[in-house]
Amino acid sequence: MTPTVVLPIIIAGLYAAGVYLLLDRSLTRVLLGFLLLGNATNVLLLSAGGVAGLAPILPVDDESAINDPLPQALVLTAIVITFGISAFVLAMIYRSWRLVRDEVVQDDAEDLRVATREEIDADERDPEEMDPADRGPGDGFTVEAGPHHPDGRDTDTPSDDVGLGLAGAVEAENESAEARAVADPGQLRAGSQRDEPAHHRREEEH
């Protein structure tokens, strides 16, 4: 059995080129890199089967005169899988092009935001910016109507769990509209216009 030097060189070349292309941001190049890598792996599998140039099955009686059929079956399976996945990647590239007119890998916005945040608890809210009705003593279970609540109405947000509590008594026609803005966005807009100073403070913070 004479080992060949051609196949290892081809495999190495395909792997090198494939990895280089895969590292690119352009998706078409990534796909081409994937195809090269797939072919490199297929040739690798093929070369695991022994000497090239012999038929895989016949003649049956002489084992030394046939090539190992199993790697060829494996390569066939691998080719089919690579083909299907390539089609899928192509469809994704096309979709990406349709959506953002670009086929390079996009940055993860949320990741960048978290990475550039200055302090980890920057999102803690100042009680000053909260709705007066919500400035209760501490936790969410015990919030009661605050002093800024002229009519002392119960400010519980409507509970809508399955089988628990009542669903949404939405009536927001007085000054405490902000408290209920969650339940009625029409009121929210009116409410936030009235509540301009608080809004400005919040924008400055960001």
């Binding site: 994937f34 890598l37 792996t41 690798l44 599998l45 070369s47 695991a48 190992d68 199993l70 790697p71 494996l74 399976t77 691998a78 899988i81 996945i85 899928f88 990647v89 994704m92 979709r95 990406s96 959506l99 890998v105 996009q106 993860d108 949320e110 990741d111 978290v114 999102d123 809210r125 909260m130 709705d131 919500d134 400035r135 936790d139 969410g140 279970f141 919030v143 947000t157 409507p158 509970s159 809508d160 769990d161 399955v162 628990l164 509590g165 669903a167 939405v170 902000e178 408290a179 803005a181 969650v182 339940a183 966005p185 029409g186 929210l188 936030s192 509540d195 608080a198 809004h199 919040r202």
Partner: protein
């Protein structure tokens, strides 16, 4: 009895594949399609449970598919580990399917997907996962991985929105890379040994020179490490999981990484029992735990935080595997079972949070404990379980691993034990922050509008938002999540029984003879 197992073994792969074909055929009748998928997955779960009972009773069994004699054909092997994984996996897939059906019905049919493609793809994913757990042949394991990955590509990019395509590209490219490494490893294994049958490999690989063994083992571990998201091969996970629909993220987070962990366990016990790379794995486990959880603490988005804890807790399982003792493997197996259930539950609860609060960003959420006490309970219990608060199953799993580490002794295991405790504490910090922000504190006013716009971009009109606020959480979704919380509590209550199975599975794994005997019969084929 033996015949029964032989009949049952192929079914977890066969039933979902046939079900997928059926679901495609009835694609125009959503109700029929839903019923079909649920019936199929219930059947698969029943089969898996019977397999676990039988396998725990009689040990490993193998089935030669198509009747080909052993070294020629493909074998499927059921032992305690694979049967246990099948049961947990199929419980999760069935529960998530119920959740997804609830969400689909609540959202109106097919708002998210142009074709009724979800059910067939989901069933194919289940078939791939089952195939990976049952494969007794390295190439069949590869095919199982490819089947589940191909299905996962479709599920992750459902609807094809810009965000999902962006996340999907990272996921697809990284998964392709790991598949190619795996395939190349199979080629080299075949070149070195002349077989891909795992039982035969177990015999032949041991006769190779140590250097060749090391190369093959490290290639396989890199391939599986990418799938299991072991640091430094984990960066893709928190980037790609959070954008998918809630049920999809839940099933991915619960299952897909654990298939990688399962493959690592098999590699390190059946194929390469020498433990040559145990030290490397040990430090990788430490880095996975600590770096993962530090990432989680920094996040403000619940889904991203959970994705980082997912990476971090993979470290616990790798820790158990790297110890290489019976106690270590038993701890790792129990932790896999616990973590599949708990991570899925948390992602489903987060799906409910997103529905109720309009966003998963903790900077904007608030007041959920008051608005939705039931939801608060559904999130709080698994969150504490994840952090490992006694007496929940997270505590049992961590305790088992820490005990195994202490029993092993030495610098590495002790450092890892310390790392495991710190990670557990930081997990508590991360989940408590979410709890404090999203549930405990009052809701702020000025964020309410954008929240609603974020969850329903297409329906930003005033009437719809008001309706959204009045909508109850869909009953089916809540029931599915509550069912999962009950399952995690059951894992706690029956922790002793489960730990017993995990222990026996670990003994089998290290012994190796049950597996080999099941494939070869009395006489080992070299």
């Amino acid at each position: 009895m033996d015949d029964l197992i032989r009949v049952l073994t192929p079914l977890p792969v066969l039933l979902p594949l046939l079900g997928a074909a059926g679901a495609l055929l009835v694609g125009r009748h959503p109700r029929l399609q839903r019923t079909l998928s649920i019936v199929v997955l219930t059947g698969v779960l029943a089969v898996s449970i019977s397999l676990l009972v039988l396998a725990d009773d009689q040990g490993a069994t193998s089935v030669s598919v198509g009747g080909w004699p052993v070294p020629l054909g493909i074998v499927l092997v059921v032992d305690r580990l694979s049967a246990l994984m099948l049961v947990v996996a199929n419980t999760v897939t069935l529960g998530v399917l119920v959740f997804a059906v609830g969400q689909g019905v609540a959202d109106g049919e097919e708002t998210d997907t142009p074709l009724s493609i979800f059910h067939p793809t989901y069933l194919i994913l289940v078939a791939g996962v089952s195939n990976a757990f049952l494969a007794g042949d390295l190439f069949n394991l590869y095919v199982g991985f490819e089947v589940l990955l191909a299905a996962s590509y479709v599920l992750l990019t459902l609807g094809g929105t810009a965000g999902r395509i962006r996340a999907g590209i990272t996921y697809v490219v990284v998964s392709l890379m790991s598949s190619l490494v795996f395939l190349a490893a199979i080629g080299l294994v075949y070149a070195a040994t002349g077989t891909v049958n795992m039982a035969q490999l177990a015999v032949r690989l041991g006769e190779l020179p140590a250097g060749t063994q090391l190369l093959l083992q490290s290639m396989l571990l890199v391939a599986f490490g990418i799938k299991a998201a072991v640091f430094p091969l984990s960066a893709w996970l928190p980037d790609s999981y959070p954008t998918a629909p809630a049920p999809v993220t839940a099933v991915f987070a619960g299952l897909l990484t654990k298939v990688g962990v399962y493959a690592i366990i098999r590699t390190n016990t059946l194929l390469f029992p020498s433990g040559a790379l145990d030290d490397v794995l040990l430090w990788a486990a430490l880095a996975t735990m600590v770096i993962g959880i530090l990432g989680a603490v920094a996040q403000t988005d619940v889904k991203r935080m959970l994705s980082f804890t997912l990476v971090s807790h993979i470290g616990y399982m790798v820790f158990g595997v790297a110890l290489g003792t019976t106690a270590g493997f038993a701890g790792a197996i129990f932790y896999v079972v616990h973590h599949i259930a708990i991570q899925t539950t948390l992602f489903l609860a987060t799906g409910l949070v997103e529905r109720r609060g309009g966003t998963t960003n903790t900077e904007k959420l608030g007041g959920l404990a008051k608005a939705s006490p039931l939801l608060a309970i559904l999130f709080f219990v698994p969150a504490m379980n994840l952090a490992g608060i006694p007496p929940l199953s997270g505590f049992i799993g961590k305790l088992g691993l820490i005990e195994a580490g202490v029993a092993m002794g030495g610098v590495g295991p002790y450092v890892l034990v310390g790392g495991a405790v710190v990670t557990s504490l930081l997990t508590l910090v991360a989940t408590a922050r979410v709890w404090g922000r999203a549930f405990w504190r009052p809701r702020s006013v000025d964020t309410a509008e954008e929240d609603v716009a974020a969850v329903r971009p297409a329906a930003g009109t005033a009437t719809t938002t008001a309706q959204l606020q009045e909508t109850r959480l869909p009953r089916t979704m809540v029931a599915a999540t509550a069912g999962f919380v009950a399952v995690t509590l059951a894992i706690t209550v029956f922790g002793g029984v489960l730990y017993g199975v995990a222990d026996r599975a670990a003994v089998d794994l290290l012994d190796r003879t049950p597996y080999l005997e099941s494939v070869f019969g009395d006489q080992v084929i070299r």
